[in-house]
Symmetry: C2
Subunit: 123 residues, 2 copies
């Protein structure tokens, strides 16, 4: 029960993190926040779109856990949470380990076949 709840949470988090990164505006915001917190106005400035559209992108980033925002006086300031990348990174790394194991096995098989065909030729 607890494990299936955790797997579910993990799935939702992978869905929302990958979805958050699947857009150039959202990736640009993540890159900018990688250099330090910034006000919404400053974040929106380089993007040629209406503020409500930009706020929808920010909302998606907040729902993914990659970004949080806080009202300081009259200014809303956004902060990056790089640790939210971790599930996505871990998933990609797991896939790479699986392929590498598979290619190692294929390499071994090819080496064995080459050796056997060499043995056949030598006899």
């Amino acid at each position: 029960m607890l494990l299936s709840h955790m797997a579910n949470q993990n799935r939702i988090s992978l869905d929302t993190v990958f979805h958050a990164l699947a857009d150039p505006t959202r990736r640009a915001v993540v890159s900018r926040l990688g250099q330090g917190p910034a006000a919404v106005k400053e974040l929106a400035e380089p993007h040629d779109m209406a503020l409500p559209s930009f706020l929808k992108h920010l909302d998606m980033l907040e729902r993914s856990g990659l970004v949080s925002s806080e009202k300081l006086g009259r200014v809303r300031v956004c902060t990056l949470h790089p640790e939210a990348f971790q599930t996505a990174n871990t998933w990609i790394e797991e896939q790479k380990r699986m392929w590498e194991r598979r290619f190692d096995r294929l390499d071994l098989l090819v080496t064995q076949l080459e050796k056997e065909s060499g043995d056949v030729r030598d006899n």
Copy 2:
């Protein structure tokens, strides 16, 4: 001109790869194909959905470049192309390097401030 075309291609590829990974069915297909090529029928089998819905997921994976398919006789066989992950992986790694540089600078600043406040206390 060429550079902006390349940047554009790269952006589209990041968009489609991250979007392809933002769904549990598509990630399950990627994991399965990491173990070797498989027929569409075999890939669809564990997923509780109508074949047309499943084919839409496959189409999205093909458009991202992560998967290709080929008709062998009467069977369509899918193959993974792990190299398509590379742009996504490179982007995440670049972000990590940026945060690390930023935290290194913050660490340095804290060390300097601690040293200076120590010097003040010592005098």
